[in-house]
Assembly symmetry: C2
Homo-oligomer: 489 residues x 2
């Protein structure tokens, strides 16, 4: 329907919602904060899942499935963990409905009250570590390298499609190791898997870094993150990998006999990415015409449009090209609706972010040519039909690369190094503020103060940050390296 999209520079939030709606990715549901992922949006998620799942398996992980419900008492066993999640838990208290004796409809049956309330999982560390106690007795049982694809629920008050929803889909890895070093290695390995996925598949450059204490996952010793920069200059935390130390092993009494027959607590990690990535994908590449998708994740990579409308000759040629593209593993569709004009179809397919459009006209056919349009740069060119499949295949790679490079250039352009609060604030006052590299005195108090003053938080301390003596922009206190600030989703 190629409905209009609000321009980004007019209202970025509305532009985002327009894209999600008009490209048919998702919508709000009748349940507060819970979204409906529509087929086209789910198609993107399926490609993400498949790729990530392959990467998890290549790194030795297996999938399993744990219950959606967590006994309330489990959540309390790790003090920081319950503190972090208690305020946003959906709680099951009853297990039956009954006819309302006073009138119509059904009510909750008061006699069907659970002895212990159940929490709908906001994350699964507690139920999983309660299980690992039975699975681990000896060093021979380690490492446990498990991943779960699941839905989780966090009763957030302010929600936004894909970016923050009460229910979301994700994967959560939960691993158990014999040594601290091995757990740390796993934590960093999975951060790198996420970074590779973001950059090579989503074409979304990310900073790899570690969170400050106050931004850590509830129950973690350290949280590693990948942080992306959106087009409006705000950061998006796109994936996290946590070194959980022995916190959950101690809370759930998970011990093993080491090679010297000594009893030890197990070392843990957990790591996750979610449907939030789709929000990041949208805000990294899309434009005022609609969605822009990197070819590797596009449900449809190429659309063929007959000009001005389908006929026997054009259909035959289109099917021939489609067959060839498909044999090369390229996902192609033929937009042969007779009731829509080409211009309308162009706009519709732009809105859907299909990377390459092939316009096939009668004259083209006579000349042995076809019109090739790229979604990313909007360049159009007439190409010989001979060799068109090779051309499209390499064009898809070029688009994938160009999207990444464009996003990387954007990030570099919007990364700033500042030494004073005035400079800091000046950057934040720009239309597109971006990442700010600045010195910080290392205290949670200063971090909090800066956040209150500017709404910018420390996104991470980059893994590759180099030592540099400096003074905190707020307090002048000593600092040994710059950290990355930004306003964030």
């Amino acid at each position: 329907m190629a409905s209009a999209v609000t321009p980004r520079n007019e209202d970025y939030s509305q532009w985002y919602l327009d894209i999600v709606k008009n490209a048919n990715l998702a919508q709000n549901s009748a349940v507060r904060g819970c979204m409906i992922i529509k087929p086209y949006g789910y198609g993107i998620w399926e490609r993400m899942q498949r790729q990530l799942d392959d990467m998890f398996k290549e790194t030795g992980h297996q999938n399993a499935y744990f219950p959606i419900f967590i006994p309330k008492s489990f959540l309390s066993k790790e003090a920081a963990h319950v503190e972090g999640f208690a305020k946003e838990c959906a709680v099951v208290t009853h297990y039956r409905l009954m006819n309302d004796p006073n009138g119509e409809g059904v009510i909750v049956d008061p006699s069907a009250k659970l002895e212990e309330e159940l929490i709908v999982r906001p994350t699964s560390e507690t139920i999983i570590w309660n299980t690992y106690r039975d699975w681990v007795t000896s060093y021979r049982d380690l490492p446990l390298l498990i991943n779960q694809w699941a839905n989780v629920v966090r009763w957030e008050m302010r929600t936004r499609l894909f970016l923050r929803t009460a229910e979301f889909l994700w994967q959560e890895g939960h691993t158990a190791h014999a040594t601290e070093a091995e757990a740390q290695e796993e934590t960093l390995k999975m951060q790198e898997v996420y970074a590779t996925f973001a950059e090579e598949f989503m074409a979304m450059p990310v900073l790899r870094g570690v969170k400050t204490e106050s931004e850590r996952f509830a129950g973690a010793v350290n949280t590693y993150t990948i942080e992306a920069l959106m087009q409006d200059g705000k950061a998006l935390q796109a994936g996290t990998s946590h070194n959980l130390g022995q916190n959950f092993a101690k809370a759930f009494e998970v011990k093993f006999q080491d090679e010297n027959n000594k009893e030890q607590y197990v070392w843990a990690t957990s790591w996750g990415v979610s449907t939030r990535l789709i929000g990041g994908l949208i805000m990294t590449h899309s434009d005022d015409e609609g969605l822009v998708l990197p070819p590797k994740l596009a449900p449809i990579q190429v659309v063929i449009i007959p000009i001005p409308k389908p006929n026997e000759e054009l259909d035959a040629k289109a099917h021939e090209i489609m067959a060839e593209l498909k044999s090369r593993g390229i996902r192609v569709s033929y937009d042969n609706d007779k009731k829509k004009r080409p211009g309308f179809k162009f706009a519709e397919n732009e809105l859907k972010g299909i990377p390459v459009r092939l316009g096939l006209g009668k004259r083209d056919l006579a000349n042995g040519t076809i019109e090739v349009a790229r979604r990313d740069t909007k360049e159009k060119a007439s190409q010989p039909l001979e060799g068109i499949v090779d051309h499209v295949a390499s064009l898809l790679e070029e688009i994938q690369q160009n999207l990444f490079q464009t996003a990387l250039d954007f990030r570099e352009e919007h990364s700033h190094t500042v030494d004073t609060m005035e400079e800091f604030q000046a950057i934040l006052d720009q239309d597109i503020p971006g990442f700010i590299y600045a010195h910080w005195d290392g205290t949670a108090e200063t971090e909090q103060k800066i956040k209150e003053l500017t709404k910018a938080s420390i996104r991470c301390i980059p893994n590759d940050s180099v030592g540099e003596v400096g003074k905190c922009i707020l307090t002048g206190g000593a600092s040994e390296r710059r950290v990355v600030f930004a306003r964030a989703y």
Copy 2:
């Protein structure tokens, strides 16, 4: 660890639980009735998912995702539906925990009570049809062919791993059509997809039939089923496909303008299979030595065991064979643990149901042979190493076929035609009763009476049943065809 499995003829229920436990498929969790699917069990589910998903897509369906929560009032909109599900609903009433002011731990925050309680979906017709109202306005929007992979919760009182659990994983298709005929066609098409999957991939023969009114899905006009026969002579409902008529369209006001601009209610279907299939897979093929898996769904199809233990020469040969098998798409592993003896490994791999075992010994190597053992028939033979990959590939096909044929022979052997209640009861008194084809007068009352008397229910009226005039075994009332009775899971 090759723990002992209770023999089937001693205690079939215990045998089943032993297989599930000792083959590391699943276990009970700390939450009543909710299971943990362990990596090996989940590996089987992943192969089922991938195959079914391909079949759904080949038949034109797309995946989407709808919320896990259903507002209580939605459930009540379709009268039969709420009647069917109200008694087993997990109900979310609150969205926050708080510190217990009187002591330790956390309690439900009474101030965080939901205005309307939410049901954890037992099935998604209501939330989906509430959404379809926005998606359908014209005949051009139809058909909607949507599938969802999800978890659902039914608070069953008596649970059993895979077969009946409070939470289970499944897929649910929900389609919307312009005509009754098209909805009926879809219902039968998906029944046939399920039957094909069961027979060709699970090697589990099924009867295709329609349920009687009293066994219908709550809210359906007709429920089509596939029914398998387990080794203990009990039936397993393995998948259902429902023609929902206009029941949900009317309950949720989903209408469309037809080609003549006339407003009409939409016609609906829904269909689902679940992790219950894994229970069916176990009880169709496995034996007293452990799990038996059909090659098409086995996470590992071939295991190579070095005899008596791994060494450089055997390792090299094993890796050579593995590489060749993998290049043919065969899933193979090498059991090179030095601490376990071959006999122990044989038992362990039998327990896991790996279809083909290759025993590679020093003498074999010198002779240019290898020992090939099949899990299904337990036959062993020495085979030339030359051409072993071709041999294994065709053996896997043979095993797949043999498992199906064996199960089909078993079903035929345990299918009976009876004309009196005495004969009926005599069959049910056998150790392995099976399917009973008998005449029934067509009333719910008689159906219920027979169930009370014998614990046997009508599994289905077969799609291919031929007209045959007869008398009901209980009442002598007129009957026009035989229906299939059995005791069931």
